[in-house]
Subunit: 84 residues, 2 copies
């Protein structure tokens, strides 16, 4: 059961990479992250418990369904061995 490529992926890929390997310093890798954690983190960026303007702006206009599709996409990606 592969996860379809989400419609809004481009929005996230700028910092997190399309495959969840972060390209922007300070942005987390998302590939293979726990889906429940991603959903929780996104909710916190959306309601401000995590006060990160770039994330609040990025996801502000994204529907709950599109946001969940993004979380499922990244959780399903295979993480690469990171360079420490």
């Amino acid at each position: 059961q592969t996860v379809p490529r989400p419609a809004r992926l481009g929005l996230c890929a700028a910092c997190h990479g399309a495959n969840g390997e972060a390209t922007m310093p300070g942005a987390p890798n998302l590939a293979g992250q726990r889906l429940d954690y991603l959903r929780d983190a996104l909710a916190q960026y959306r309601d401000g418990r995590r006060d990160v303007p770039v994330m609040r702006t990025a996801i502000g206009a994204v529907s709950a369904a599109d946001l969940d599709a993004l979380a499922r996409w990244y959780s399903a990606q295979s993480p690469k061995q990171a360079q420490p």
Copy 2:
């Protein structure tokens, strides 16, 4: 250059696993995460910008040096393919 097993690893392993594969629902995988992101997240748990009591309690009594050793340890771990 392998990262030595940190003295305080047991503290984190309960939720994040010794290898960074989270065992506790809602806790993030840490293996292979970007080191700059982990340091930033830990700083936010410590100063309350991320208001997560379990993390504030867990790292409250950990020295900055021990905390950084933990961040380096987890960043250096090889992430596993997650089950979506």
